[in-house]
């Protein structure tokens, strides 16, 4: 009898606790270790600065390390949907990990806010929304700039992974439309001790410009190798390289390089009329206060933007269902698809049912490295 009584009391207590379970739970899988940790750590730093509530609901954020390993990423995602019963999955920053997580998200009908510009086969991204600009939006900005500079031929030197490949796939047709040809394509890996051979082959093909597709400080070595081979043309870098580390490691060799980037990292140089300026500044100021001057970067801004879109979509979804339920997740997805024009630090998003990329073509900003600092072109 005593046992029964205590059982009943605890059940009652549990029932009383139930509303607390309706907190909004977010599962975050980021590469805090491994090759892409340079991208994951800053994103996690921004998540640490997130407010603790969203639309009046308590926010529970579970951050797991996926070690830049697709298998670990899947494990994390499965844990999120089965154990933590999350409402949203965020991650990963690493493209090879983000893709399999999208599979779990679609299967469990959970919204995924992807922090990497990963390509998914048609119909597979029904539950996946991307925070970064698509490579084609960025390629558009680079190609436009190249055209202005009168460039006709391009050499491509990229990572031998999904990021490098998808750039090559997006860049080539966009360039060809504008009369620019990719005449040589070489690959390398971040931890390579030398890219002399690749640089040699590219320079001997004698293109007007080079496009280097790499991330963070990993983008400096190929850049230096090309400069060392006396390449006189222009060198372009992608948005994953738009961080201080490129300049820190590359030194004077990266001087004059063109880097495409979202507006977030150069907010202070943007004209006041730029829609993202105010939002981007509200990202930069607290972030640099917490992590030091000049610490702003692309990836932390994506995490910042993820919170912004949630802040807009969650109240819409709350009207339809309670967090923690299947209905809430579906309502959240509908909210993302119907919330319309949303200004975030990285540009202007407009997700629709058919377009889960969303950025407008004007998003990419070309920066030039001048005296070790960014200058908006």
């Amino acid at each position: 009898m005593q046992v029964l009584k205590s059982l009943a009391t605890s059940l009652a207590a549990l029932a009383l606790c139930a509303p607390a379970l309706a907190d909004i739970t977010i599962g975050v899988s980021l590469p805090l270790t491994g090759p892409a940790s340079g991208l994951g750590i800053p994103a996690n730093n921004e998540i640490k600065l997130w407010p603790t509530t969203i639309a009046g609901e308590k926010l529970k954020v579970v951050v797991l390390d996926d070690a830049t390993d697709p298998t670990t990423g899947i494990k994390n995602a499965k844990r999120f949907v089965t154990d933590d019963k999350v409402d949203v999955i965020i991650g990963s920053v690493a493209t090879p990990v983000a893709i399999p997580i999208a599979g779990v998200a679609a299967e469990s009908e959970t919204v995924q806010l992807m922090l990497s510009p990963a390509e998914l086969p048609a119909g597979k991204d029904a539950w996946t929304f991307r925070m970064p600009q698509s490579n084609s939006v960025m390629a558009h900005a680079i190609v436009a700039h190249m055209k202005k500079q009168g460039i006709k031929t391009v050499g491509f030197l990229g990572y031998t992974d999904a990021y490098g490949e998808s750039w090559l796939r997006d860049f080539t047709p966009e360039a060809e439309k504008n009369g620019i040809k990719v005449i040589a394509a070489e690959r390398f890996a971040r931890a390579d001790t030398s890219v002399t051979a690749q640089a040699l082959k590219l320079v001997s093909a004698n293109p007007d410009a080079m496009l280097i597709v790499a991330s963070g400080s990993g983008a400096a070595m190929p850049h230096k190798a090309i400069v060392e081979r006396d390449f006189k043309g222009k060198i372009y870098q992608t948005h994953a390289a738009a961080s201080r580390d490129l300049v820190r490691v590359g030194g004077k060799d990266v001087e004059g390089a063109f880097v495409v980037s979202g507006p977030a990292v150069v907010a202070d140089q943007l004209p006041d009329s730029h829609p993202s300026k105010k939002v981007a500044l509200s990202f930069i100021v607290p972030y640099e206060k917490a992590y030091g001057a000049g610490s702003r970067n692309q990836f932390a801004a994506h995490a910042f933007d993820a919170f912004l879109v949630l802040e807009k979509a969650v109240p819409m979804a709350l009207k339809k269902a309670k967090p923690g339920t299947r209905e809430f997740r579906a309502a959240l997805r509908d909210a993302f698809e119907t919330m319309g024009r949303t200004v975030v630090a990285h540009g202007v998003l407009n997700w629709t049912h058919d377009d889960h990329w969303g950025y407008t073509l004007e998003t990419g900003v070309i920066l030039k490295v001048v005296n070790g600092d960014w200058k908006v072109e």
Binding site: A189, D192, S194, G216, S217, R248
Partner: protein, 345 residues
């Protein structure tokens, strides 16, 4: 593909091959003396280069604190061992002090020297001292008590040590890479080839280290003791050679050469906390070519790996690693055909 391209690729391949050769030699050395397949060999390279990089910024590298922690653990273990054998508190304390003295001195020196921003050579010497001190500690903590276990167990421990060291590397140095300043800023144009000072240093240092190792093993008593342990552990022990001492000395040498390799490649590439693994692995491929026992074959194999890598990157950069690591297959086939079945130890 003309002469100038070939000569540039040759130089690039030889430069990388020289570093792989040092890795290969260490792998052979460690395996022959202790039967450990030392996967974390490459980590010493990254630690060496990155410790110097942090010194360059005027901060105290995290490796200093790791060294201190490991030295304390080793001192406690040594004291316990002494106590169990002799029941003598003073002796145990003395044993602990002996293990702690050198690492503690290196740490104190580093903490004092870091903010003073001494010249590059002083910082390089300090980095080498710190990383070399890791060698014997890693042996003491991870391998010494397993010295008689099978090669497989030792291999598994190596994998563990590798992951631990990579993880700690991320903690100390961060996820982003560093490039060290060059030691000798000179450029010589030899026809199409641009010979940089650092490349000359790599070549010269590798040759010098190889000659030194050769002299050490053939001329000094200490070297001969190591060689004796490599040929027959039990026999060497019966002749009064301490196998534990031999193990520690071997690991110290491996760490020393690793740290020096790190200083050598630091200025030519961006070194990340996890860069060492692939470098060590390519050295391992070379060591396998030498059957994990022949120093000269391992060195030649390493140069081959470097050259194949360089020409492979030129012709098919997307398949570079595939080409390099496939190299090991024909070698294994050839070795197993020509040497027949060897007994499992």
């Amino acid at each position: 593909m003309d002469f100038s391209i070939v000569s540039i690729l040759l130089l690039d391949g030889l430069t990388n091959g020289a570093v792989y050769a040092l890795m290969g030699l260490c792998t052979v050395l460690v395996f022959s003396v202790t039967r450990v397949i030392f996967i974390p060999q490459g980590e010493f390279v990254a630690y060496g280069a990155l410790t110097l990089a942090i010194f360059q910024t005027g901060r105290v590298p995290g490796t200093v604190w790791l060294l201190l922690i490991m030295a304390t653990l080793v001192a406690l273990l040594d004291a316990r061992l002494h106590w169990q054998q002799h029941r003598n508190a003073v002796g145990a304390l003395a044993a602990a002090a002996r293990s702690l003295a050198i690492p503690a001195a290196i740490c104190a020196l580093s903490v004092w020297a870091a903010p003073q921003q001494f010249g590059l050579l002083v910082q390089a010497a300090l980095s080498v001292a710190i990383v070399t001190a890791f060698g014997p500690m890693v042996y003491r903590l991870a391998y010494q008590s397993l010295a008689d276990a099978s090669s497989l167990v030792l291999l598994i421990v190596s994998v563990g040590v590798h992951f631990a060291m990579t993880g700690l590397g991320l903690l100390f140095f961060g996820a982003e890479g560093y490039r060290n300043p060059t030691f000798w800023d000179v450029r010589i144009n030899l026809g199409p080839v641009l010979l940089k000072g650092q490349v000359i240093i790599i070549g010269a240092a590798t040759l010098a280290l190889m000659v030194l190792m050769w002299q050490f093993f053939s001329r000094t008593l200490y070297g001969k003791a190591l060689q004796a342990t490599a040929i027959n552990r039990l026999g060497a022990r019966l002749m009064g050679v301490s196998t534990i001492g031999a193990g520690r000395a071997t690991f110290a040498m491996a760490a020393l050469i690793g740290a020096l390799s790190g200083l050598l490649i630091g200025p030519t590439t961006t070194v990340f906390y996890d860069s060492g693994f692939l470098i060590g692995l390519k050295g391992f491929v070379a060591a396998v070519m030498g059957g994990l026992q022949s120093f000269p074959v391992a060195a030649i194999g390493a140069v081959c790996v470097g050259l194949v890598e360089s020409f492979g990157s030129f012709w098919a950069s997307a398949f570079k690693e595939v080409i390099v690591f496939t190299l090991v297959l024909p070698v294994l086939v050839w070795r197993s055909l020509s040497h027949g079945q060897s007994e499992e130890h």
